[in-house]
Symmetry: C2
Amino acid sequence: MRTNTITQPTLVLDEHRCLANILRMRDKAKQQNVQLRPHFKTHQSLTVGNWFREAGTDRITVSSVGMAFYFAEDGWDDITIAFPVNVLQVDEIAELAAKVKLGLVLVDDSPIDALGKKLEHEVSIWIKIDVGTHRTGLAPDQTNEIDKILDQLKKYPELHFAGFIGHAGHSYQAKSVTEVQRTYDVSLSILLDLKKKYLNTYPGIQISLGDTPASSMVSNFGPIDELRPGNYVFYDLMQEEIGSCSMNDIAVAMACPVVAVHPDRKQWIIYGGGIHFSKDFLLLADGRKCFGRMVNQNAAGWSVDNVQQNPMLISLSQEHGIVQCDDHNFNQCKPGDLTFWLPVHSCLTADVMGAYVTTHDLAIDHYRQRLNR
Amino acid sequence: MRTNTITQPTLVLDEHRCLANILRMRDKAKQQNVQLRPHFKTHQSLTVGNWFREAGTDRITVSSVGMAFYFAEDGWDDITIAFPVNVLQVDEIAELAAKVKLGLVLVDDSPIDALGKKLEHEVSIWIKIDVGTHRTGLAPDQTNEIDKILDQLKKYPELHFAGFIGHAGHSYQAKSVTEVQRTYDVSLSILLDLKKKYLNTYPGIQISLGDTPASSMVSNFGPIDELRPGNYVFYDLMQEEIGSCSMNDIAVAMACPVVAVHPDRKQWIIYGGGIHFSKDFLLLADGRKCFGRMVNQNAAGWSVDNVQQNPMLISLSQEHGIVQCDDHNFNQCKPGDLTFWLPVHSCLTADVMGAYVTTHDLAIDHYRQRLNR
């Protein structure tokens, strides 16, 4: 790639690594006969979306109504918004339902009347079940609440009950493949029990799960109908720590100029701060924070050889990044050099950057570039 | 204000509070005969910039070359980029120097030849001194390095030495007005010593400091030439904790719909996550994290009455915010209600939101809306 055109913090996307991630997950799901509905909130890019399309993806997940419009306008016609229905957006939801096969998520019955009265086209309604993350969703034993939702749905023929949806976000706290497997097994068993309970009354209902750690690490998905992982398109240091990927699978890196060096404390200052990386960090065993790990730039993009021996990004302010070196690697860079950094949380880094340059030197789109989000 | 048009996370800007902040700092600086060069990286808005202009501001600080262009195109003609010169952007810097009276910051002599050979118009060169923050800048006793920079500058008549610049970022760790005052006094004395040392050789050189805690809390600025605070235009919970402002001075709030409630754990889930607030947080004395504090919506915008008794934002994921309530306030909201939140770090919240709606219902600009940053 040509890096001499990069003069300020830039998010570089490695097409080869990204495509390998897309294909690996596709093949794994296909092999196990599980529908994949990848979450597009990580990349938020029509171009990357097209790479999925070329790999056979025909249904997607997004996290907002605006993002659903963004992809709908590019021809995606089967979209689930994996976020509790925000009743204030019912007009936009109705507009969207006229364009695409739309999936919506309910956590209670409160938006049903507003939806039912507004919608003129059928939508799929997923009931969100809390499989252990304790963020949103009904507890598996709240069948009274589930029945209340199902009763309300009967009033509106456009609101088609599609099944139960879960997100095992607590797999991000897992420390081993065994723990991720256990989280997945529990989540699956919760959704399976509900499916069995309601299948006679609602034939054809499905169950859907979708975190990247489980989708990457679990070897047997079992009788799940649909998986919705998203982060795997890029992966990041957080996923590497969990064990979802290797350093070499991470498909995005921030390119940042060095603007100062401090021999006394063996630090570099890079142009690249919280507005470029986001402020998510890994807390290391030694108590330090890691905001990014340096990789070695090469003709194709970057290599992860000896990444553990490279300097580490230990602090971010708005535009500055502080890099801790040691005696061995401090002299690798001087002001004016470009450095490459694997991000801690690629979803947020891509979101704050709002643009990519590929390792083939193409500037590509991100949803944030749309002014009216 | 009309809140019925707000359907998704929206950054609301209170014009009255904002203008009061602008005027209070202007009057304080004027009274003490100190030049104010407000930092525009917090608001990044031409509209807010105009409020400064109407209040008499004629010189500004920004944090990037792109941001300097943004404001230059709106007629600002005296701009300091308070970030170490990134030599990779020397072409853009030269272009900018042709348009405005430009101030640049050097932390070493490495960019001087590139600048000197490229620039066709005079720029002001500030030497950055580390007044104790240990992020960038020369230590006050590195006079050899200072002399090396000054010697190099002599080669290029366009590079005019303007003086010494510092940023006491460590005042953000201060716990009391006494600590902030002490930090300010030390910073001022460091810059003053350098000014005295070099004033004979470089008559007219100035010294410039600029953090919001000191600018807000220090009663006597002493013989400083220029102050460059930025955050005070909005303030935020971090500044309130330091003591720079009261809750009622904070001029921005995130408006977020409630999308779920959990009576069992007395929590609400709001539509509003890391991509809306940013991930900065306050670590409270009880070990909890605070990502935002709820204020009470009213006809004019919001009131901070009883803010300490209101629910608190304790966790953020990409789009979800988890709000902790207690028995007393849990029933205040239901799904579909709009809630208002004071942000922890307004610079980053404004940056990730990239747009404002004022309490007078005007949608106004932010630099992020420019596609080609």
